[in-house]
Amino acid sequence: MSRLVRMDQTGHTTVAEWTADDPEAIEQAVRAFRSELEQGYYAVVSEGAGHAQHVRELPRDASLVILRRPIAGG
C-alpha cells in the first residue's frame, strides 16, 4: 500500500492511499496530489539516509510520498 501524506498541524495526514493494481485509487491519489501542489505544497520521496527526491508527478511505485511546505531563510 502506497501513501501520500501531508505534514500539517496534526503531525501528518494521509491524503491518499493506493496500490499498483487499483487504477481508481491511483486516479484519486493523482487528483489529490495535484490539488495539494496547487495549494503550494512540495512533494518529496525519501530515498533513505541522505537522499530525497522532489517530484512533480505522483510516483506510483513509491511507498511513501510526503507533502511539505516551502522553507525560507529566517
Partner: protein, 210 residues
C-alpha cells in the same frame, strides 16, 4: 532566490575567510589600543581592560547569534522538547508524537537516537555535517573546526516541532546546495566559540557531528 549565487565549496571557503577577516578587523583595533594605552600610561589600564572586554565581547555576540539557530522555537504546534518545560496542550503533544514518528521513519538508527536525546537531527552532506533544529541549522565543515550557522525554517510556524525539522531534512536531502543558498548565514567561525553558547542538548548534537 535567483539573486543569490549558488553556494559551493569555494563559496563557503571564501565566505568563511571573510568572516575571519571581519572578526579580526573588529577585535584587533581594540587590542592594539588597549596595549598602547596601557604602555603609555599605567593610569589608563582600566580603559585598556574595557577595550579588551570589547575585543572579547564582539565575537562572542556574533557566536551567540549563530547559536540561536538551534534554539527551540515555541509556537502553537510545539511540544516540550528535550530541556523545555511543560505547558502545551494534549492536542499538540499528540501532533508532536505523530510528527516524531514520521521523522523517525526518515532516519537511521543512530540519528533517531540522537533526535530522541537532543531534539536535533544529524545529516551528513557533501558540504559537511548538518545539525538541524526546528528553526535553523549548523553546518560543521570538513575538518570540524569551522561551523556555519544558518537561520532557515518551514514557512508554517504552527507545525509540530518534529515536522518543522522534517521539512528542513527533506529540503536538505532534496537539494543541499539549494538549502545552503536559501538559508541565511548568521555566523561562521570557530566551533568552540559556537559550542559554548549552545544549550546542552544542542551541544551534544554538535559533538556528534565530528
Amino acid at each position: 532566490m535567483h539573486w543569490r549565487a549558488r553556494v559551493d565549496e569555494r563559496h563557503l571557503t571564501r565566505h568563511g575567510r571573510l568572516w575571519t577577516i571581519s572578526t579580526v578587523a573588529h577585535t584587533v583595533p581594540f587590542i592594539v589600543a588597549a596595549v598602547v594605552l596601557g604602555a603609555l600610561a599605567p593610569v589608563l589600564i582600566p580603559v585598556s581592560l574595557i577595550l579588551l572586554a570589547h575585543a572579547w565581547a564582539i565575537p562572542e555576540l556574533y557566536a551567540a547569534r549563530g547559536a540561536g539557530a538551534l534554539r527551540t522555537r515555541t509556537g502553537s504546534g510545539s511540544i516540550p522538547g528535550p530541556g523545555s518545560g511543560p505547558g502545551d496542550s494534549g492536542d499538540s503533544s499528540h501532533a508532536e508524537r505523530v510528527a516524531a514518528g514520521l521523522l523517525g521513519d526518515l532516519l537511521d538508527h543512530r540519528p533517531r537516537d540522537l533526535h530522541a536525546r537532543t531534539g536535533m537531527v544529524l545529516e551528513r552532506g557533501r558540504l559537511g555535517t548538518w545539525v538541524l533544529g526546528d528553526a535553523g541549522a549548523l553546518l560543521v565543515r570538513p575538518g570540524g573546526r569551522r561551523v556555519n550557522c544558518y537561520c532557515v525554517k518551514a514557512t508554517d510556524s504552527a507545525l509540530p516541532r518534529s515536522d518543522r525539522i522534517a521539512h528542513l531534512l527533506l529540503a536538505l536531502r532534496s537539494d543541499e546546495i539549494g538549502f545552503a543558498t536559501l538559508a541565511n548565514v548568521s555566523f561562521s567561525g570557530a566551533r568552540w566559540r559556537v559550542r559554548r553558547r549552545l544549550s546542552p542538548p544542542a551541544r551534544q548534537a554538535l559533538d556528534a557531528a565530528r
